[in-house]
């Protein structure tokens, strides 16, 4: 049982790490899609099928598409051409900060007195989940719905607004 988890985790982390370090943005995005699929597989393994499908639909289906579009729209960025001299030191700092955070978290996880695991996953049917969402968590569900609406409207305003394009300004 643990072997499956370890393999899944390694695959997911590996793709994530490679995606974060690749130069080619398109390749990064494609690899990240694999990472998210790996997380979905983890959810499946843990017994949360509904979350796994939501993860697949939202991340692998929708978010990756949106990101791909954004990448294609901003294709002409000079980013890929000239790497500024500060990039190296920033990379070092980032690696140090990431390693420190990872170390602290891992230490906390291994030191914490965590309860022993129950033998079986708690069974949650989709019907039950719907009942919870519409019942006990109805207010949060509404809040999330409002948040999504506002975020989407805001995104449209942000992306559609801005100064008019000048004709000779294309890089």
């Amino acid at each position: 049982m643990n072997t499956v988890l370890v393999i899944l985790a390694l695959a997911t982390l590996g793709t994530a790490a490679v995606a974060m370090s690749l130069r080619n943005l398109l390749h990064s995005v494609l690899l990240l899609t694999a990472t998210w699929a790996g997380v979905a597989a983890f959810y499946l393994w843990a017994g949360a099928e509904f979350v796994a499908f939501a993860q697949l639909l939202v991340y692998v289906g929708a978010i990756s598409m949106a990101v791909l579009f954004a990448v294609l729209l901003t294709r002409h960025s000079r980013d890929d051409v000239a790497a500024p001299p500060a990039a190296r030191s920033r990379g070092v700092y980032a690696a140090a900060a990431g390693a420190a955070v990872a170390g602290v978290l891992l230490a906390a996880v291994s030191l914490a007195p965590l309860a022993t695991a129950p033998a079986r996953a708690p069974a949650v049917s989709v019907r039950q989940l719907g009942g919870e969402l519409m019942g006990a968590h109805a207010a949060s569900l509404l809040a999330v719905a409002v948040l999504l609406t506002v975020a989407l409207v805001g995104a449209v305003v942000l992306a559609a607004g801005g100064p008019p394009e000048k004709p000779g300004d294309t890089p």
């Binding site: 979350v51 980013d79 990379g91 891992l106 069974a123 999330v144 999504l148 942000l158």
Partner: protein
């Protein structure tokens, strides 16, 4: 190591990878994706505690994970819109150059 600790270690490492990416890369889309990885690590934690943690009500962890996914979707939408707005403004999407604290 117990399965719960393994899961938590997995999510911690995922979080750290996301953080490193968000800190190291200058491309704002990649920074955004790093943030997404951090958020995913959070919902992995929810599921891990739901599955292995001390028993709470049967569906709480799942509900929270679903909310986290919805919030992530909203965040991506706004983030990408910001990226496009920045691109329109300064003709590239390098984050370190987007440091003017006014229009």
């Amino acid at each position: 190591m117990s399965p719960l600790q393994l899961c938590l270690a997995f999510s911690s490492l995922l979080f750290a990878v996301g953080l490193t990416g968000a800190l190291a890369r200058s491309n704002s889309i990649l920074v955004l994706l790093g943030l997404e990885l951090m958020l995913t690590a959070g919902s992995v934690n929810f599921i891990a505690f739901w599955r292995f943690g001390p028993p709470a009500s049967p569906a709480t962890g799942v509900v929270f994970a679903i909310f986290a996914i919805a919030v992530a979707a909203a965040e991506t939408a706004v983030g990408l819109a910001l990226v496009i707005a920045v691109y329109r403004h300064q003709r590239n999407i390098r984050l370190p150059e987007a440091n003017r604290l006014k229009g």
